[in-house]
Structure formats: structure tokens, C-alpha cells
């Protein structure tokens, strides 16, 4: 091939990478700005007043927390106890036993003195058969409802709970999540504080509970995880939840609510058909669908985001489980984006179509693939002797420094807003993680994303995978 043309092609590749990087930096910088503004506004707005005063108000809405459980025998009793001790009056905890193969159901029956009750179920509702609905004989557990059904996956379990609930708002959480006592008050406030727009969903920050001291379902002491993978994930979650989602929330363009802590307006969620049982990214997909439903019906709406650390969960400490988790996330991402592809740069959907969707497409789905193939291209180019080394080094350094800077900004914001990790050592460790993350943790995430996409493209069957819980009670 003619050298001149080839050089031009290479130059254009450089330009494409450069533009891609600059746009990414610009977006990240804007996100940083918006999240700062949003967080400050939130902090000032909520700096006075007592939420708990209204928890028993006659106007306070009713809520149902739906928690699907599959083979959670080890931790289920403690987790339910934690859910039952939330600071709110008008709420119900609905645990859906999704055909567990272990003793989850029996443990619940024994611990909470459950008895089967008669409950009429809509014959037209499509979900896996329900074996029984259980309530406790004891008044102290009257808020608890347990549904025993055949295994149908998380989405099916959540749909069942959502359908059987009779309350206005439904919270879909992971049963192993630890909610802080004030969580429901914040959620209710978020649903109720708007008057011109309908709040169709509320999401929040997910914090990492690995190594934290938890006693009797209550968070006693916040500690930095001991496991290195968990430390990297802590940094990643801080960046993502405190900066990323806060910024999208500020722009009213949130397209995802974490499956571990998401509350929905039941009427709208059911009108959209509930969770999609054919995707592993159901938490993202339902938000896409609800948003579209509202836009297509020309109904003013919004999704609220709570930056307060209300939900704490365990993250994988093993590389294999982590890869499986991220593999599933990327498959879910792909499925959702593909399903709603007509939103891509579609002005009909406003910011959702013009900003959120493209962001998810280019920087959440495509970026890991580009990184992966870029890495091998660089090796190849170097081997062929056509690598523009000065450009490569300059742009790599810039990206690296930027990533560190952005992580530092996230840590700064964490210290400024909530200051959960008070020890200097903890902060220094987090900073250290930010420095080494691009070499240690990030490649794992990229690999998992590529694997997920590969599975999806070549239709390799893969389910949810499993995560072995230590259980909060033991996490001392």
C-alpha cells in the first residue's frame, strides 16, 4: 500500500481517537460540574427539617418493598429483620421466594411464624405459578408478606411482587441490601416533592458494605473494604453514583436505576408491563420503558435521584464473580440499547434521545470494545512499526492523568458531602486505588464487557451467575 495514503489513514485514526477522548473529557467535566451543583443544592435544601416527623402522617403514602430471594437461606432472616426495622409506618415488606433450592422458605416460615393465607390472584397475570402467599401469625411481623413461587428469575419475582402489592409505590431491592432506617422517608419525600411533574421512579446511591460492622441489621461502623477488588469497586461506585448519576439526575436524563435500590410508581410500572423477563438488564430496561411510556403519552414526568447513602450492599470479592457480574451488566446494556434503538438521536425523546442514549451507547457500551481492540491495534501497529509513538504516549498520558484527576474529584466530593471514610489511611488507599486502577482493575472490567458482548453477539447461553454472600451478620 502507498505509504502516503496509509499515513493519512493513520492520522485520521488518531484524530478519531482524539475527538472521542476530548468529547469524553468534556462530558465528564460537565458531569462533574452538574453533579457538584446538584449535590450542593440537595445539601442546602435538606440541611434543616426533620423527616421523621411526617412518617406517621395520615397523608403519608403506602409503600411496598419487594425483595426477591433465591437461595438466600444463609442471610434471609437477618435481612428481613433489617427491612422490618425501617423508620416508616405505612409500608409492607414483600419477600418473593423465587423457587429457592435451599432452605430459604423454611427458614422464613420458622423465624417469622408464617402461615399460608388465601389470596386471589389475577388469572390473566403472566408469571410463574405462585405456590402460596404467607403472612406471619405474630402482630410484630404484620408488615411481612412472603410469596412462594416457582423459579422464574429476578424479573419474574419482582413482577409478581409488584402485581400483588396494593400500595402506591413499590420498591424493588436486593434482599441482601441493607437499607438505612431513614431510607423510606427519603424515598417518600422524593416521590412527593414535585407537584408539576409526576415522579415515576426514585433511585439512590449504592454503598459498599464489605468489611463494615453491621449488627442486628443496623450499620454500626463504616470501614473501607479489606479486599482489593472491593476497594476498586468502592472507588468506581463513588465515581459513578456521586458524579455520573447525580449529573444525569440533575439533567433529568437518568436512564438507569440500580436494581439494588429502586422505587417505582406502581401504576406506571404496571402500565408498562413491569420488568422485562427476557433481559438480564431489567433494572435499566424498565426505566427506559417507563420513560418512553410517559414521553409517548405526553405526560410530564421525572425520575428522582437521592445522593444520600441509604442502601449498602456487598460487592464481589472474587475476580470470577466480578467478571460474571460485569459480563451480565454489559449484556443487559446491549439488550436494552438494542431494544430501544429507535431512541438513538431521536429528538422526540428530548434529552433522553439526544444525550442520555448516545452517552450510553458510545461511552458505556462502545468504549470498552474500542479499548479492547485499540489495545491490540497498538501492539500490532508497534510490531509493524507504524505506531505514532509520540502521539500514543501523549494521549495515553493525558487519559491516564485525567482518570486520576476525575477519581480524585470523586473522592473530594465524597469527603465534602458525606465524609464516610474518616481515616487518613482510608483516603490515601482510595487515592492509591485511583492511581493503579487503570492497570489492574480496569482491564478486568473491559474484559468482562467484551466477553458479555461476545456472548450476546454469538448467542452463547448465559444466565445471571451467582454471588456467594458472606452475610451482614458475619461481616465484622
Amino acid at each position: 500500500m502507498d505509504n502516503g495514503v496509509f499515513n493519512i489513514l493513520l492520522d485520521y485514526i488518531n484524530i478519531v481517537f482524539f475527538v472521542f477522548t476530548v468529547v469524553l473529557f468534556t462530558l465528564f467535566s460537565i458531569m462533574g460540574y452538574l453533579s457538584t451543583k446538584g449535590s450542593l443544592h440537595y445539601k442546602n435544601k435538606n440541611s434543616f427539617g426533620d423527616l421523621s416527623k411526617v412518617m406517621a402522617s395520615p397523608l403519608a403514602p403506602s409503600l411496598t418493598i419487594v425483595a426477591p430471594a433465591y437461595n438466600e437461606g444463609m442471610t434471609i432472616v437477618e435481612n428481613i429483620r433489617s427491612l422490618l426495622s425501617l423508620k416508616y409506618v405505612n409500608y409492607e415488606v414483600m419477600v418473593v421466594n423465587d423457587g429457592s433450592k435451599d432452605d430459604t422458605m423454611q427458614k422464613m416460615i420458622d423465624a417469622y411464624d408464617l402461615v399460608k393465607i388465601d389470596r386471589k390472584i389475577d388469572p390473566n397475570w403472566k408469571s410463574k405459578p405462585i405456590r402460596g402467599v404467607y403472612k406471619s401469625r405474630q402482630q410484630s411481623f404484620s408488615k411481612l408478606t412472603v410469596i412462594d413461587k416457582e423459579n422464574g428469575g429476578k424479573s419474574d419475582a419482582l413482577n409478581t411482587g409488584m402485581h400483588l402489592s396494593e400500595n402506591q409505590f413499590v420498591g424493588c431491592i436486593d434482599v441482601d441490601c441493607l437499607l438505612l432506617p431513614d431510607a423510606l422517608l427519603h424515598v417518600v419525600k422524593s416521590f412527593y416533592q414535585r407537584s408539576e411533574k409526576r415522579v415515576i421512579a426514585v433511585g439512590g446511591v449504592i454503598r459498599i458494605a464489605n468489611s463494615c460492622v453491621i449488627n442486628g441489621g443496623a450499620l454500626e461502623e463504616i470501614r473501607l473494604p479489606k479486599n482489593w477488588l472491593a476497594k476498586f469497586q468502592l472507588l468506581e461506585y463513588t465515581r459513578s453514583f456521586l458524579l455520573g448519576r447525580m449529573a444525569f439526575g440533575r439533567m433529568d436524563s437518568l436512564l438507569i436505576i440500580s436494581g439494588a435500590f429502586g422505587f417505582f410508581d406502581r401504576e406506571i410500572a404496571l402500565a408498562c408491563g413491569g420488568y422485562d423477563t427476557n433481559t438480564v438488564g431489567e433494572d435499566m430496561e424498565i426505566v427506559f420503558r417507563m420513560r418512553r411510556y410517559m414521553v409517548e403519552n405526553k405526560l410530564p414526568h421525572t425520575i428522582e435521584y437521592i445522593p444520600d447513602p441509604l442502601c449498602w450492599t456487598e460487592v464481589p470479592e472474587s475476580r470470577k464473580i466480578l467478571v460474571n457480574q460485569r459480563d451480565r451488566w454489559s449484556r443487559g446494556n446491549f439488550e436494552t440499547l438494542y431494544k430501544h434503538r429507535d431512541m438513538f438521536f431521536n429528538p422526540k425523546y428530548g434529552r433522553l434521545g439526544m444525550i442520555s442514549y448516545p452517552y450510553w451507547f458510545f461511552y458505556e457500551w462502545l468504549a470498552p470494545l474500542l479499548e479492547f481492540f485499540g489495545f491490540f491495534s497498538i501492539i500490532l501497529f508497534y510490531y509493524l512499526g507504524i505506531l505514532n509513538l509520540p502521539f500514543f504516549i501523549a494521549i495515553t498520558t493525558m487519559i491516564y492523568v485525567y482518570s486520576i484527576m476525575f477519581s480524585f474529584y470523586a473522592i473530594l466530593w465524597e469527603v465534602y458531602s458525606y465524609n464516610e471514610y474518616k481515616k487518613v489511611k482510608d483516603i490515601l488507599i482510595l487515592m492509591g486505588c485511583a492511581i493503579v486502577e487503570p492497570f489492574i482493575f480496569h482491564p478486568i472490567v473491559v474484559f468482562a464487557a467484551v466477553r458479555g458482548n461476545y456472548k450476546k453477539l454469538f448467542k452463547i447461553q448465559s444466565g445471571w451467575g451467582t454471588i456467594t454472600r458472606k452475610g451482614f451478620a458475619k461481616a465484622t
Binding site: 403519608a60 407537584s195 498520558t397 492523568v401 474529584y409 465524609n419
Partner: protein
């Protein structure tokens, strides 16, 4: 492949990315990273320092505050008073420092939540004495929304009533946080604040804000709520909604018409709240409006309406609820409609799903009175313009009112298609026969004792023109035919009498072999058929006829043979004679005695009927618990067989017994010893039964 010459490349050459810019950006980001690194520790240390500084100031100020709060001017000694004054001077000096002032305000705000009564009043007094409100007033002048809100919050918490007029100006502020805090403060500081707020506000009131204001009002001491109906006409829909909620909260039921009219409001929340008020205050005059708007609303409102109708417990609403059950597609709404019906009329709707149909059939076959009858009440339908009758091809509804039937009321014509002559007419004849006799009061008493409440078109003061064919009682719910009377009078009859009359029919035509036969296995059945041939009589003919449909071919064949031989043996009974004449008369006019009709008895049953078509009276029974013959006898011997519904009628009516009974009746008006009032009633009925009819019954 040959590319164009290099000269052309120069024209399309790519722009070069200046590597220097990349390095510059890298340096910039590095500097920012370092700044952030420094900022992290700066803020961390600052927060730590601030916290310790505040703590140390609190350590000094908190005991002083405590001293002020618990100092009693009248009791204190001179030294104590001096000390108190010195403290006051000291604290005034301290709060000249802005930080101390802020910390002191913070202490007082914290303390406010922990103390009550006189101490709290002292706290407020101290706040004002130290002129701490000045800094809060200063905050109100700030341009920053958070400062203004903070100032208003502080003044409100410390009950600085003087700030009311300053704060209420912010009620229509553009900044939502300021506005919301002003609303709360206005309502908190003065009792008339709520009126001012509802009168003045132009903005929306969020649900959360309503919740908070209600909480403030609920905790206000000596609060006399204004009449909130005044705001139901507000142009601000949020004010209307909030007013409705306040009306409900304070039980102000003086705005019935306004509230009912708000059910037609476009806003769903207002509609829902209005319905909620209607339910709470039991505004039954709203029924028409509720029904009128029902179909136009979403499921949420529909549920609320149904809930409200259920709470009214008006039987007139049942047809509407049934219509909802039939026409509504939403499962929850349908369920709610049924639930409402059962709330109004317990067990009006019986469970049908998941029942073992085989058991049901056996049940039906075995006992007549366990048939589920159903009569649709629809008398309010004509009054309701929005009411639509369900399009049921089979159901002809009987209009029944809760009012007793007057004796002078016109006779009711039951419009019955000739091909659907119901079996109850046959039963009705017996009712007629029974009812026209004396002692009706006793019958009614018996009915009341049984607490069987039923509505029966037959027993009404009505004439029924019955078509030609005789009808067989098949008791099949699926073939149910309801009838509609032309008037809406309530038709009441003692259902127990109906049941008893049916038992009369059954018993008088029952072969003595039948009970044994039904419990016997096939082998025994064959033996029993032999016995029938040996000792049977013409009473066994209908039974043998019924066996012609037996599933076992041998039994079926043998039954035909035995029947033929029996017919030869005895004078055959014509099929037309197997039923009383009155039953066969298709033009029977059923007249119910005035005394009976007056009794408030309701029928909640559906009576099924099929034409007999030249068949004799037949009650088909399915074999149940089949057993060898000796066991059948054993059961009978030890009286282990479950009692039939009206065993009383199995008693042979020996003339002596009848005479005795009659004699005892003549001799004394009191009931015979050993008989209940109910039994007594039936004995009387039967004894007075026309002899000719009795003979026919006995074959």
C-alpha cells in the same frame, strides 16, 4: 491497487493532532489532580477543625444555657441572682463573636426538640433576650435562598411571632425552597396563617408540603381550624385538593354538595380525595354521581368509588356492582365489585373457583335445599339513568324490593317463556296447598326459627301463567332461569316451607329400596332388583324408570324387566298421575296468602328447571359410598345414615297418630309434648292436607 499521486494526497492530507496540546492538557489535569488531592485534605481537616471548635464552644455555652433555663427568679438567693446577672453579661459578651452566636443558636435549636412546657417557653424567651433573632432577621435580607430559608426556619423554631408579617411575604416567592419554608413558617407562627396561605398562594402545593403543613397544624396548640369548604372554590387546584384533605382531617362535613360536585373534577387527585371525603362522611346522596362518573375513570378512582359504595351498604347498589363485575375488564376492579357486593350483602356472591365439581353435583343430587338459588335484585334500575342491565341471554331477573308486599297490590305476572316452564311451579302448587291452609302464622314462626331467608317469585301475591309441559326439578345451576316480575315488590316466603314441600314430593314417590340401592354396590343392586320384583309395589315404578339410565348395563336391563313385570303385577300408574293434578295444570295460578306474603322473607336462590318431556318425576342420584347390602341395613339399623333435611316427613302418617295429634290440638292450644314448634307446624299442614292429594302422594 494503484493510489493517486502524492500531489493529490497533499490536498486531502489529514490535520495533524498537535502532540504539544496533549502534553499541555496532561499537565493541566495533573495540576488539577494535585489541587484535588490538597483539597481533599484541606476540607477534611477543615471539617474536623470546625467540628472540634464547635464542640469546644458548646462546652462553654451549654452550661450557661442550662443555668438560664433552670433558674427561678423568685426562689434564688441574692448570690444566685448576682451570678445569674453576671452570666447574662458574660453570655452577651460571648455572642458578640459571630461564631459563638451561631453556636448558641444551634444549641437552642437542638434543645428545643428536647424540652417542653415551661422550659421550652424559657428557651424561646432566652433566644429573644439575647437578641439572637436579629441574626435570623438579617438572613431574611440575604439574596441567597439557603440563607433566607435558614433564617425563616430559625425564627419559626423559636416561635418569634413578630417575624410572621416578614415571612409571609415570601409565600409567593419564585424560589421554591424559600416559598416552601415561608409556607411552613406562616402556618406555624400564627393560627390564621393557614387561611392566609390558602387565600394567597398562587403556586402549586406539593404532596410533601401538604404533609408537612398538616403535621404542623396537627401539633398546633389550641388551633381552631377554619371551615375549609371556603377554599373548595379556589382557582388553584392544589388549594382545592389540600382543602379537601383538611376537611377530611378535621371532620368538617358541612360541604356535602361541593364535595359531591368535585367528583366530576378533571384532576384525578381531587376526584379521589372528594370520593374519600364522601366515604368518610357517608354522603349517600352522592350515589348517582359516583355511578355516573364511574366508567369514565381509571382503575384507581373506580376502586375508590366501589369502596365508597360498599361503605354505604345500600342493597340498591348491588345491580350496579354486578354490572361492574360483568363489564369491567380490570381484574382488581372486578374483584373489588364482588367484594363490595359481599360487604353490602354478606355471601351474596359465593366462591365458585377451585371447587370440586363432582362433590357439588353429588350434593345437588342428594339434597334439594342445598341448591344455590339466585335472584337478581334490580328494582332500582329504572330510577338510575346510568344503570344499564347486563346483557344476559339466560337471566331474567326478578325485581325484589325490601318493602313488604301489600295485600292489595296488583298481582304480578311472571313472564315466562313457554319452553322454559320452571320446576318451581310444581313446587309452588304444594306451597299453595300448604299456604292456603290455616296456621300461617305458625309457619312463619317456624321459618323465622330456621332463619332461612329467601325470595321466591312463586310465593308472591301473584299469578303465574304456566305453560303446558310439566317441569322436572333438576337443580342444575347452569340451566338457571331467573324470572323478572313486572313490579318491584319484595316477594318473601318461608324458604323452609319450599324445601319441605319438595321433600314431600320426593318422599311420597320414593321407593323404599332407593336409599339402600344408592348405597349398595352393583352386586347388591341386582339382588335388590330381585327383591323389588318380589315385594315391590307401584311406588317402585318411578324408581325403576330412573334406573333405565343407569350406567351399568346389567342393572339397566334388569330394571326394565322388573319394571315390566311389576306393571303387569299391579295396575300400572300412568305417568300423568305420578304428579299431583295441580302440578300438571299448566295454567296454575299461584296465590299466596296475605299473611304469608307480609312476612319479610327473601329468596337468594336461582331455581333451575327443565321440561320433563313425557318422563315421570325423576330425581337422579349418583352412587355414593357404595357398600354391600348388609352394611346398608346395618347403617339403617343403627340409624347411622345422615339425616335427611326433613326426616320428619319420613314418618308414616298413621291415622292414630293423626288423630292423636288432632285431639291434642283440640284439647289444648299448646304444642304437643316432644314436638318443636316447627314440627308442630308441619304436622298441622300435613294433617290438613286434602286426603285425595295425600293418597296420590302415597301412590
Amino acid at each position: 491497487m494503484k493510489f493517486p499521486s502524492l500531489k493529490i494526497y497533499n490536498l486531502v492530507s489529514s490535520p495533524k493532532v498537535p502532540t504539544d496540546v496533549l502534553w499541555d492538557l496532561s499537565i493541566l489535569f495533573s495540576i488539577l489532580a494535585v489541587i484535588y488531592f490538597g483539597a481533599i485534605f484541606f476540607f477534611r481537616n477543615k471539617f474536623k477543625k470546625d467540628a472540634s471548635d464547635t464542640a469546644s464552644r458548646k462546652k462553654i455555652l451549654a452550661p450557661m444555657v442550662s443555668e438560664f433555663l433552670f433558674y427561678e427568679e423568685n426562689i434564688g438567693t441574692k448570690e444566685e441572682k448576682n451570678s445569674y446577672i453576671n452570666r447574662k453579661i458574660e453570655i452577651r459578651e460571648l455572642i458578640k463573636d459571630k461564631k459563638n452566636e451561631a453556636v448558641l443558636s444551634e444549641i437552642l435549636l437542638d434543645l428545643k426538640t428536647d424540652v417542653s412546657g415551661q422550659t421550652r417557653k424559657l428557651l424561646f424567651k432566652l433566644y429573644k433576650d439575647l437578641n439572637l433573632q436579629e441574626q435570623a432577621f438579617e438572613k431574611l435580607k440575604s439574596f441567597r435562598w439557603q440563607k433566607i430559608s435558614q433564617g425563616m426556619f430559625e425564627l419559626t423554631q423559636m416561635q418569634v411571632v413578630e417575624s410572621y408579617s416578614f415571612i409571609r411575604r415570601f409565600i409567593n416567592d419564585k424560589r421554591s425552597v424559600v416559598r416552601k419554608q415561608a409556607e411552613i413558617s406562616t402556618v406555624t407562627l400564627m393560627h390564621e396563617g393557614i387561611s392566609y396561605f390558602l387565600d394567597t398562594t398562587k403556586y402549586s402545593i406539593s404532596e410533601w408540603q401538604q404533609l408537612k403543613i398538616l403535621e404542623v397544624l396537627s401539633n398546633a396548640e389550641y388551633f381552631e381550624p377554619p371551615r375549609f369548604y371556603k377554599w373548595l372554590t379556589s382557582k388553584n387546584k392544589h388549594v382545592v385538593l389540600f382543602a379537601l384533605r383538611l376537611i377530611k382531617h378535621y371532620d368538617q362535613n358541612d360541604a356535602e354538595e361541593s364535595i359531591i360536585s368535585l367528583v366530576r373534577h378533571k384532576n384525578t387527585n381531587i376526584k379521589h380525595e372528594a370520593i374519600s371525603c364522601i366515604k368518610k362522611f357517608n354522603f349517600q346522596s352522592s350515589t348517582r354521581t359516583l355511578k355516573a362518573v364511574f366508567w369514565k375513570n381509571n382503575a384507581h378512582i373506580k376502586l375508590a368509588i366501589l369502596d365508597t359504595l360498599a361503605s354505604f351498604e345500600r342493597k340498591e347498589d348491588i345491580p350496579f356492582l354486578e354490572l361492574v363485575d360483568k363489564k369491567e375488564s380490570n381484574f382488581t376492579v372486578k374483584s373489588k365489585a364482588l367484594s363490595a357486593i359481599n360487604t353490602i350483602w354478606p355471601e351474596y356472591v359465593m366462591p365458585t373457583d377451585g371447587l370440586d365439581s363432582s362433590i357439588l353435583e353429588e350434593h345437588q343430587d342428594e339434597s334439594f335445599e342445598e341448591i344455590v338459588h339466585k335472584v337478581d335484585v334490580s328494582n332500582d334500575a329504572p330510577d338510575d339513568p346510568e344503570f344499564e342491565k347486563p346483557d344476559s341471554e339466560e337471566a331474567i331477573e326478578i325485581a325484589v324490593d325490601s318493602e313488604p308486599i301489600e295485600t292489595n297490590q296488583p298481582e304480578v305476572q311472571l313472564e315466562t317463556p313457554s319452553e322454559l316452564l320452571p320446576e318451581y311451579e310444581r313446587v309452588a302448587h304444594f306451597l299453595d296447598s300448604i299456604f292456603v291452609n290455616k296456621n300461617n302464622e305458625d309457619k312463619v314462626e317456624a321459618a323465622e326459627q330456621e332463619s332461612v331467608v329467601a325470595k321466591d317469585p312463586i310465593s308472591s301475591k301473584s299469578e303465574i301463567n304456566t305453560p303446558e309441559p310439566v317441569f322436572e326439578v333438576l337443580l342444575n345451576e347452569d340451566d338457571a332461569v331467573s324470572l323478572t316480575t313486572t313490579n318491584s315488590d319484595e316477594i318473601k316466603v318461608d324458604n323452609s316451607i319450599l324445601e319441605q314441600s319438595e321433600t314431600i314430593i320426593e318422599d311420597n314417590y320414593q321407593s323404599i329400596f332407593e336409599p339402600l340401592f344408592n348405597r349398595a354396590d352393583d352386586e347388591c343392586k341386582m339382588l335388590l332388583l330381585d327383591e323389588i320384583l318380589e315385594i315391590g309395589n307401584n311406588k317402585d315404578i318411578p324408581f325403576l324408570t330412573s334406573l333405565q339410565n343407569h350406567h351399568n348395563t346389567l342393572i339397566r336391563t334388569k330394571a326394565v324387566v322388573v319394571k315390566a313385570k311389576l306393571l303387569d303385577k299391579f295396575t300400572p300408574i300412568k305417568e300423568s298421575e305420578t304428579l299431583p293434578l295441580e302440578v300438571l295444570n299448566l295454567q296454575t295460578t299461584i296465590k299466596v296468602e296475605e299473611e304469608l306474603v307480609k312476612q319479610r322473607v327473601e329468596i337468594n336462590q336461582t331455581i333451575s328447571a327443565l321440561p320433563i318431556e313425557d318422563q315421570p318425576y325423576l330425581i337422579e342420584k349418583k352412587p355414593k359410598d357404595l357398600m354391600p347390602l348388609e352394611f346398608c341395613f346395618l347403617l339403617e339399623e343403627f340409624d347411622l345414615e345422615p339425616a335427611k333435611p326433613l326426616d320428619l316427613f319420613e314418618v308414616e302418617f298413621a291415622p292414630e297418630f293423626s288423630k292423636d295429634l288432632k285431639n291434642s290440638e283440640h284439647s289444648s292450644s299448646s304444642e304437643p309434648i316432644g314436638l318443636t314448634a316447627e314440627e308442630h307446624t308441619y304436622f298441622q299442614q300435613l294433617l290438613e292436607f286434602p286426603l285425595t292429594k295425600r293418597k296420590k302422594f302415597n301412590g
